[in-house]
């Protein structure tokens, strides 16, 4: 599945005193099987952008194409099932008495048989490592467990594209690492993930492509090393890139590492170890 945004603009409360221009002519594609990271400061339009991927928000100008077809002509229910969107702090929308029931909400809405629902829910709970919490009440869980339950609730739809809006914000390092593991596993199975994040170090670990958003417009889009080394002196580059960029002045052999592993290998080369 390929989603393409063409010159998408979005204006909130258009024509009133409270008007806010959130997106300005954003052109971007989400290719099947990639992890696309969207980074940028608060208020840069990231969350507005991702809500266009399943038309929870409609562009006020430009259009969204899904596999070449104008998304507006598609059935909204089908679109939302194939583009699973996990909001910021998604645990705020948990509502059922148990984790199991909450995760079963979407599969039931899809009309799966009771056996099919059971299989789906069991599968995603296991995949997120919270199978043992199935019968617990959501409000009794820790922050990280709630987050995983909420993500399971969207994964249970079996979406082609999973969109995660700051999925690791406020989580402890161990839970964060587990979630990154889930993202990698999804990609390895051919799934497509759109990851909105403030955590550049985690973007450096999992992203295939990076889109940098500033003030509602795309200012940079490409492979992580291209995007990050273009801004290597700014806070918008991950620590690995900033370190390697500083070392490159004296050691041209450092190359352009992005992930922690690549940077470590580059350092070892420079040190002759």
């Amino acid at each position: 599945m390929r989603i393409e945004l063409r010159e998408v603009g979005h204006v909130y409360a258009s024509g009133t005193a409270l008007e806010v221009v959130a997106l300005r002519g954003v052109s971007l594609s989400v290719e099947g099987g990639e992890v696309l990271a969207i980074v940028g400061g608060t208020g840069s339009g990231k969350s507005t952008l991702v809500q266009h991927l399943n038309l929870l928000l409609e562009p006020t100008s430009g259009k969204v194409l899904v596999d070449g077809v104008d998304a507006r002509s598609l059935d909204r229910g089908d679109l939302r099932r194939s583009v699973g969107l996990v909001f910021q702090a998604p645990e705020a929308a948990l509502f059922a008495p148990t984790v199991w029931e909450d995760v079963a909400f979407a599969p039931r809405r899809m009309g799966l048989s009771e056996g099919g629902v059971r299989e789906r829910v069991g599968g995603v709970l296991g995949r997120l490592g919270i199978g043992h919490l199935a019968q617990r009440a959501p409000h009794s869980l820790s922050g990280g467990e709630k987050r995983r339950a909420a993500i399971a609730g969207v994964l249970a739809m079996g979406p082609d594209v999973l969109v995660l809006d700051e999925p690791t914000a406020g989580l402890d390092p161990a839970t964060r690492e587990e979630l990154l593991g889930v993202i990698r596993a999804l990609r390895d199975e051919g799934g497509t993930v759109v990851l909105v994040s403030h955590d550049l170090d985690e973007v450096a670990e999992v992203a295939d492509r990076v889109c940098l958003l500033e003030n509602g417009a795309v200012t940079s889009l490409g492979k992580p090393e291209e995007v990050f080394y273009a801004v290597s002196a700014s806070p918008m580059a991950p620590a690995t890139v900033r370190t390697a960029a500083l070392l490159r002045d004296d050691h041209s052999g450092v190359g352009r590492p992005v992930s922690f592993g690549e940077t470590l290998a580059a350092l070892k080369t420079v040190l002759g170890a």
Partner: protein
Amino acid sequence: MRTLGQFYPVGSPLHDLDARAKILAVAVLAVGLFLVDSLIGFLVVGVALAACVAVSRVPTTVFSGFLRPVLPIVAATALFQAFFSREGRILVEWGFVEVRDEGLMLAAFLASRILLLVGAAGLLTATTSPLALADGVEDLLSPLKKLRFPVHEVAMMMSIALRFVPTLAEEAGRITRAQAARGASFSEGGLWKRARAMLPVLVPLTVGAFRRADELAEAMESRGYRGGEGRTRYREARFGPGDWLAPVLAAVVMVVAVSL
């Protein structure tokens, strides 16, 4: 970013008026409207209100939005008045339904009264920030403090409630969209089915509201809030000579309207 709450933040002489002046003016108008008993009187009040709307720079589309929700009620009460009044000359008779001239008159009075009152109240909230409004109510009610009425607490509750309307509306919007992303649908099926479909929104919204209330209480206490005793304000509203103009003008208009 939907906005609920009616404050329309633009600059205008009406926005600059002291909140107390505007509340008093609306109070004068509200009392006066029940004494007006001629169509020309209502017309005078209507023209005065229209002039205020023009001065306030609140767009007429926004202003008419305040009136829209009460239209069905106005229509229902006016029809009731017109059909079941038993005074005056009969104009139309159809079975047990009689339309009399007196009834039509009463219906028009009633409709004008409600619409003007709602319009004036709408203009008050459109031109006064919720905080200024709550402070104004507190000041106007302050004589009740002598009777041990918790004026400050009531005003504080009011301003907090108003302050959280947009926050809750935003949260409701976010939860609604989160559930829509999971395939929830809020527009299909009959009334019962739609009401049930709101459950996945209402449960987390209520839980969130209680959590927020707890957090707010703790945050207020940790910043030293101890109720109204000796509390000062960041913005002290001053009731200037110009502010007297609003209630006085309102009184003049009402006296004229009543005497016509």
